[in-house]
């Protein structure tokens, strides 16, 4: 009888321990979830290493370049499909982005060198300010800043605006610059996040043009 009482006592003790452990575990998870939620509300995406795919999205390499229609600085609508059959370098950039400014002269040189062979570079300004369509003042300010940059840097290739609207299709566009290289068939052959070198860009362009593979 005494032994059984001890066994029941131990059993109840174990049960109590597990009940306490379960409660503590539940509380811990509840707090962790609250912390994660608070942290997520203040989060931003950390850029991947240069040459990597954007942190927030999958690589587009090997897939068809998503089509788009955006406006240029004059308000003309320009679609990716209008460049069908051409190798392309789609360069997402921003006026506040130092590395973008550094690579702009490289892009101009590359357009001059490979343009006669069929390459088309398209610059897409991606200011990251998520302007609403009816924010006339915001858009006017953005356009003025972009136009100033384009003029100052002598960008002769087409420049489109509102790249932010393509974030979902183009892998997140979490950081600038992001370059997407597209071959004549409209397939993405390389994606570059961040600045590397003019030589790297040239190698990707040659790949898009079907040279030196």
């Amino acid at each position: 009888m005494k032994r059984n009482t001890i066994v029941i006592g131990i059993t109840l003790l174990i049960l109590a321990t597990f009940a306490w452990a379960g409660w503590a575990n539940w509380m811990y998870r509840k707090q962790a979830a609250a912390r994660a939620l608070a942290s997520a509300s203040n989060a931003e995406l950390i850029p991947a290493a240069p040459g990597d795919v954007p942190a927030g999205g999958a690589s587009l390499t090997g897939k068809p370049a998503p089509n788009f229609t955006l406006e240029d600085l004059s308000g003309n609508k320009v679609s990716l499909s209008s460049y069908k059959g051409k190798p392309l370098l789609i360069n997402f950039w921003a006026t506040w982005c130092g590395p973008c400014k550094i690579e702009t002269p490289w892009l101009i040189d590359l357009q001059n060198e490979y343009g006669p062979k069929g390459l088309q570079i398209i610059g897409i300004s991606t200011e990251g300010d998520d302007l609403k369509p009816d924010d006339k003042e915001g858009w006017a300010h953005d356009k003025a800043e972009i136009a100033k940059f384009v003029k100052r840097e002598h960008m002769q290739y087409p420049v489109l605006i509102n790249g932010d609207s393509l974030a979902a299709e183009y892998g997140g566009l979490d950081a600038m610059p992001t370059s997407v290289y597209v071959d004549k068939e409209g397939k993405v052959v390389a994606m570059q996040l961040g600045i590397s070198s003019k030589e790297d860009m040239e190698a990707h362009i040659r790949k898009a043009m079907g040279e030196g593979q």
Binding site: M1, N4, V7, I8, I10, T11, I14, L15, F18, A21, G22, N25, R29, A32, S39, A40, N42, A43, E44, L45, I46, P47, P50, A55, G56, A94, T95, W96, C97, G98, P99, C100, K101, I102, E103, E127, G128, D129, E145, F149, D174, A175, M176, P177, L193, G194, I195, S196, S197
Partner: protein, 173 residues
């Protein structure tokens, strides 16, 4: 007697089974929580450190040192970047607040060059930095949602400009 014995055995066995089940469930959940997340949400580039609360004489401009931390391997433009196109770091208070910003004194930026353009010197903040904000508060307890606007980059790429909330409990006495 026998019934008690059986009850004790059943209870003990049941407890062990429950324990095993609980342990199994717990380890499975642990493996789920410790597995890499699908999302890549990370802490923001700049984090406000302290103070959470300050007490200032009501109506008198009082300097308060506000401390921030920039994530490793990132930098933000100083308040006075060297190029016009770069976005400066700016601290502000909402205009409607009972606490006004008389002025703000920013630290001097550190020289920084990008590997792709070693000739151009940038003026940036890295690591920890502090802004001296001269606050003027009315009497009372005010939870102020100050703002810090900045634009962060690493050596090869830049994140979009961002404005974070800097919550400070200002007590004017």
């Amino acid at each position: 007697m026998i019934a008690t014995k059986i009850l004790a055995r059943k209870l003990f066995t049941g407890t062990l089974l429950m324990a095993a089940a609980a342990t199994g469930a717990s380890s499975q959940e642990d493996s789920l929580t410790s597995s890499p997340r699908q999302t890549v949400l990370k802490p923001q580039a700049v984090e406000y450190l302290y103070p959470e609360q300050v007490t200032v004489p009501a109506g008198k401009p009082t300097p308060v040192s506000l401390h921030f931390r920039i994530r490793e391997n990132l930098h933000i433009n100083s308040h006075t970047p060297r190029a016009e196109y770069l976005i400066p770091t700016v601290f502000s208070l909402p205009e409607s607040s009972d606490v006004k910003l008389a002025n703000a004194t920013y630290p001097t930026g550190t020289d920084f060059t990008l590997p792709a353009d070693p000739d151009q010197k940038l003026s940036v903040y890295t690591g920890d930095f502090a802004i001296q904000a001269k606050l003027v508060s009315t009497a009372g307890n005010h939870l102020v949602e100050a703002k810090l606007r900045y634009q962060a980059c690493d050596q090869t790429q830049c994140l979009p400009p961002k404005t974070i909330t800097v919550p400070i409990d200002v007590i004017g006495k």
